[in-house]
């Protein structure tokens, strides 16, 4: 069969199909779902980071009007399982890797391991009664010494977070053969310690959920603000010892996740347990402060970084000791984040020798989890800051030093890094040159010189970065292969419904999946709808995370659409009395032998027994799994322009020029939106956001009054351009892209600020670059204290 398409949808920017309803406030988020007879849960959380729980007296709470039940660890632990750990360790062959994480306890029993850990659940007829009654709960604690930093927690005599294991969960080593000798032979060695501070994703919608156990049918339904309904169902079944067939899990409209809503959240299991105990629907909606205390944090890493180079700035080897603060429990696969983070530290450069030493450590902090970038922003930050330091030491322009070190286009496809990543495709120098051109880099440098003469401090920062997407391929550890599923159904009226297992919550896939199907089936976008986020209607789903939706979910949609088209073609061939090979499909019309039949006619007639070819079943309803074989690697070069007020330390981020290659661009406006949003979160890390604990493990920046989440007015002008090197890994030629900008923005911005302050001899400033830190760096540099 040959097909000629109407104007392709892929590559266009039709208006997003999902927005109208949401912009009118007509969305249905978890907190909007109401079932008659619903009661409310309030989670009573430990005020101590580490303490024995000696006694819980709930008599006053139970006596409060409207209170139905108080559940504690004593009630929950004997009857329900903890959330099973994810055992995957990236390099199973490595003899020095250790695996086996502790299970994620649902609720504290005997001991609280972080401030915010749930100690009791108060269930009452109203939300207010549950909240008021929680104030009456009497808990006796004996505070314990706190494991407050990974370094301290790894040391001798450190307080043990888990009684049955050491604080160091993962120690992992990986090295190419000649790292030491390369360092010994190198003329230039740069050593620096970097910090990627802990931050919090702050999804706009705080978590909420409602669990409904129906004792009559022995069936649980849970609506929750999560990134993957199926994953929650799987975990729920294990925790509750139910069959997955007894559970329906729904992710309704979800107001952002960014990784933090990926994987089990203890609250949802506890809602289900409370519902099973009471036989009533139980609901909860988190406050923002609750989110800061208990929705996972991320990034928290300290790194000792060394690079060996020659006098021309060609980097020969790197050495990295990377330590991550896991918090009190491993959420999902977080113990391995530090590994993926470490190995990407060779960045876009052809560095041949590298050694990685990774420590993932438990502390009495809020558990870490995934967050847009999943370790790669931290790794890229190291090499991109080091490149700038090296450039300055060797008096080479930051653009030139990058140019000299980049992996060349002819080394693709499938370039293997010393850490074991396999970069699929790209042209790294092209992205760099394009970024220099778009930003008028030479012009910026000239302006910088003029402004310095006037006592003004302009800074220009580059970052060339690379980031994985399209999780999870079969070429990695088989246990981490994650296919995606799609179903495409055409109704007798010719309307198309796509079912997808990777449910969008802001990513725009309602529109972009429709574009993919439209190009195959030649139907208008208005005739296509997308169903997702409900285990009752969607057979299988790995979920939405790790820049995978278009690569994995989109390809599954493409495959299922093709299956539908194949069946329609066979039907058309029969109807037109032709061979299916001789049928052409043009603008929604099948033709052969001078006659034709439309898409709609096929859709209608295929349900009529007399019109179908013998043996063909009625209906147009096909599904498909897509299992990727490789990761995709999007990349780019960003240029940040800042002006710094040296008297106050205030940073004015003026422009961020972004050149991104994410393979084929399905919807340019959505992709640009992802660049803006991802970069905004990266800018947040660079300049503003900081999870701060005091010496007792108390979270100090636990509200938006103290945690500086950037607002629109703190954003620069974004100038976004794309280059398109199709990925060879998938038929759409797309690469994941949502996490790239989060990876590229922090080093670009920090490099720009440090560049602005070169006249003061400032060499480094730790993120976030708050006004006070910038001001201090200037003071210290002027007093001769090198940072």
């Amino acid at each position: 069969m040959t097909t000629t398409s109407p104007p392709r949808q892929v590559g266009q920017s039709p208006r997003r199909k999902e927005d109208d309803r949401l912009l009118r406030g007509q969305g249905a988020f978890s907190d909007d779902i109401n079932i008659p007879g619903t009661v409310w849960a309030h989670f009573f959380r430990s005020p101590h980071a580490h303490a024995h729980i000696l006694n819980i007296d709930s008599s006053a709470t139970m006596a409060h009007p409207g209170v139905l039940r108080v559940l504690t660890g004593e009630d929950v632990h004997p009857r329900y399982n903890p959330i099973p750990p994810v055992l995957a360790v990236r390099d199973a062959e490595n003899p020095d890797s250790t695996a086996g994480a502790p299970a994620f306890t649902l609720i504290a029993r005997n001991k609280a391991k972080y401030a915010g850990e749930i100690v009791a659940i108060v269930v009452a007829e109203t939300r207010e009664a549950a909240r008021d009654a929680a104030d009456l709960l009497m808990v006796d604690y004996r505070p314990l010494p706190v494991a407050n930093t990974p370094e301290q927690a790894m040391g001798p005599d450190a307080p043990q977070v888990h009684d049955d294991r050491s604080n160091e969960q993962v120690r992992w080593l990986k090295s190419t053969e000649n790292v030491s000798s390369t360092f010994e032979d190198s003329e230039i060695i740069l050593r620096h310690d970097f910090v990627n501070q802990r931050i919090h994703a702050v999804p706009m919608e705080p978590r909420a959920g409602i669990a409904h156990w129906d004792p009559a049918t022995q069936f649980l339904t849970i609506w929750a603000s999560i990134q993957g309904a199926h994953e929650l169902r799987t975990q729920m079944a294990e925790v509750l010892e139910l069959s997955p067939d007894q559970i329906r899990s729904v992710a309704p409209d979800v107001g952002g996740g960014f990784g933090a809503k990926h994987g089990g959240e203890v609250e949802y299991f506890l809602l289900a347990i409370a519902s099973m105990e009471l036989g009533l629907p139980v609901k909860w909606a988190a406050s923002r402060t609750e989110e800061f205390l208990s929705l996972s944090h991320a990034r928290g890493k300290t790194s000792q970084f060394e690079v060996a180079a020659d006098r021309d700035g060609r980097v020969k080897a790197l050495r990295l000791r990377h330590t991550t603060d896991l918090g009190a429990f491993p959420k999902g696969a977080t113990p391995i984040v530090a590994q993926t983070s470490a190995i990407i530290a060779t960045g876009v450069y052809g560095i041949r020798e590298a050694s990685f030493e990774v420590h993932s450590v438990y502390t009495n902090h809020t558990p870490e989890g995934a967050y847009r970038g999943y370790g790669r922003p931290e790794g890229i930050y190291l090499i991109e800051r080091a490149m700038d330091m090296l450039a300055r030491d060797l008096d080479i322009d930051p653009a030139e030093i990058r140019r000299r070190n980049m992996i060349q286009p002819e080394e693709f496809p499938y370039y293997r890094t010393p850490g074991g990543d396999i970069y699929d495709s790209g042209n790294y120098p092209e992205a760099l040159e394009r970024a220099l051109e778009v930003s008028d880099y030479e012009g910026l440098r000239a302006r910088q010189r003029e402004m310095r003469a006037d006592g003004k401090y302009l800074g220009i920062g580059l970052a060339s970065w690379v980031k994985t997407g399209g999780f999870g391929p079969s070429s990695l550890d088989p246990s981490s292969s994650m296919p995606e599923w799609a179903r495409v159904k055409v109704s007798p009226a010719g309307m198309v419904t796509i079912y997808t297992g990777s449910s969008p919550h802001g990513q725009g896939n309602y529109t972009t999946y429709a574009q993919v199907a439209a190009d195959t089936l030649h139907v208008p976008l208005d005739d296509i709808s997308v169903t997702h986020g409900d285990t009752a209607t969607v057979t299988y789903g790995s979920g939405t995370f790790a820049s995978r939706n278009m690569v994995v979910g989109g390809t599954a949609v493409l495959q299922a659409s093709q299956k539908v088209l194949d069946k329609m073609t066979q039907f058309a061939a029969h109807a037109l009395n032709a061979d299916s090979d001789s049928v052409t499909y043009t603008d929604g019309v099948f033709s052969a032998n001078g006659s034709s039949i439309t898409f709609r006619e096929v859709a209608a007639n295929i349900n009529r027994v007399l019109e179908r070819p013998p043996g063909m079943e009625m209906g147009l309803d096909e599904s498909s799994f897509y299992q990727p074989t490789h990761l995709t690697f999007n990349y780019g070069t960003y240029v940040a322009v800042v002006e710094v007020d040296p008297e106050t330390g205030d940073v004015d981020l003026q422009q961020l020029y972004c050149v991104d290659d994410q393979g084929v661009v399905v919807h340019p406006v959505i992709v640009e939106g992802q660049v803006h949003g991802g970069a905004a979160q990266g800018i947040g890390q660079a300049l503003y956001e900081d999870i701060i604990y005091d010496d007792n493990g108390q979270l100090l920046s636990g509200s938006l009054m103290d945690y500086a989440l950037p607002t629109a007015e703190m954003m620069p002008e974004f100038i976004s351009e794309f280059i398109e090197t199709p990925s060879p890994t998938n038929p759409l030629g797309v690469k994941g892209m949502g996490e790239g900008p989060t990876t590229g923005a922090p080093p670009a911005v920090v490099n720009a600020v440090v560049d602005a302050l070169a006249p003061f001899n400032v060499r480094d400033i730790a993120m976030p670059l708050t006004p006070e830190r910038v001001w201090r760096a200037i003071q210290d540099a002027q007093n001769g204290d090198q940072s």
Binding site: E128, T648, D650, D706, L709, P771, E772
Partner: protein, 290 residues
């Protein structure tokens, strides 16, 4: 974020509100815009048993007028109203400049000048400017009306000298004639956008270009807003050259016990006091010369 239970009343007059407060000693709290009180109630830092809502007294308490020598602003006047008022623009534009710096549109539409002062938040914007302008507050109580300076009204962080059953009714600000200028410069914390330090300067130049009046109010730096008297004393009677302004501004943090929080150490706040004082006086002088 659910406040504790409370009773609620919305009386029609200030007098009725005072009586209600009187009936429930230790329990009652008036609510104006609610932009400070409600967050505290949601955090359960404040748990008043009775909320006396002043919204029906807006006829009495929300207004802006010029009585010839003073600008009079009713206590229930919103920040947005002050920021957009022509009367303020014609008399003391620095007040509009200050009001426009407060929070965001939603907060400015609800928050009131009376609430801001009564709340005595050490990082609020209005106090810097009101101190620099020698503003006074009219306060209604059971025994009638008393007038105190805003300086006396604000005692310390979140503590005012208001009695439990007193209500601020009006803010009265003298209008200066002649070659006068003022400016408010805020350095906001990036999280809450409250001031880390905010400085208001008000100057009057005499016919020969000497400073006959210089007043500097600083908010955010210490546990309450205060006048930078060392700066004022140094500069008064001088010609405000850049060097003179710089030299005087170096004293801006003198006598202030600067606070430490996540957004700024005492040393950093001292630095901001000096830098912002210099910038605010410089701008005020430029405006006076225009």
């Amino acid at each position: 974020m659910i406040p504790g239970a409370f009773d609620y009343a919305a009386p029609d007059t200030v007098a009725a509100a005072i009586l209600l407060l009187r009936e429930r000693p230790g329990e009652g709290k008036v609510i104006a815009g609610g932009q400070s009180l409600l967050p505290m109630m949601k955090l359960r830092v404040a748990m008043p048993g009775l909320i006396v809502d002043l919204r029906k007294t807006r006829g009495e308490l929300s207004h802006i007028s010029n009585d010839g020598s003073n600008l009079r602003i009713g206590s229930m006047t919103s920040h947005a109203h002050v920021a957009g008022s022509d009367v303020v623009q014609d008399t003391l534009p620095v007040l509009a400049e200050t009001a426009a710096e407060i929070a965001d549109v939603q907060v400015r539409n609800l928050g009131t000048i009376g609430g801001s002062i009564a709340h005595a938040d050490p990082v609020a914007d209005y106090p810097a400017t009101l101190l620099a302008l020698d503003a006074q507050a009219e306060i209604a109580g059971l025994n009638g009306v008393r007038v105190v300076s805003v300086d006396e009204l604000i005692m310390d962080a979140f503590i005012s000298t208001l009695a439990e059953d007193e209500i601020i009714t009006e803010i009265v600000i003298p209008i200066t004639e002649g070659r006068t200028g003022a400016a408010y410069i805020k350095f906001a914390n990036k999280a809450s956008h409250f001031a880390i330090v905010g400085v208001a300067a008000h100057v009057v130049l005499d016919d020969s270009g000497y400073l006959s009046r210089v007043a500097v109010g600083i908010t955010g730096a210490a546990s309450r807003a205060a006048r930078a008297t060392a700066v004022e004393d140094t500069l008064r009677g001088q010609v405000p050259t850049p060097d003179a302004i710089s030299a005087a501004s170096a004293l801006a943090a003198d006598g202030l016990e600067c606070i430490a929080d996540l957004h700024g150490s005492p040393e950093y706040r001292q630095n901001l006091c000096r830098v912002l004082t210099r910038r605010a006086i410089t701008r005020a002088v430029e405006r006076a010369r225009e």
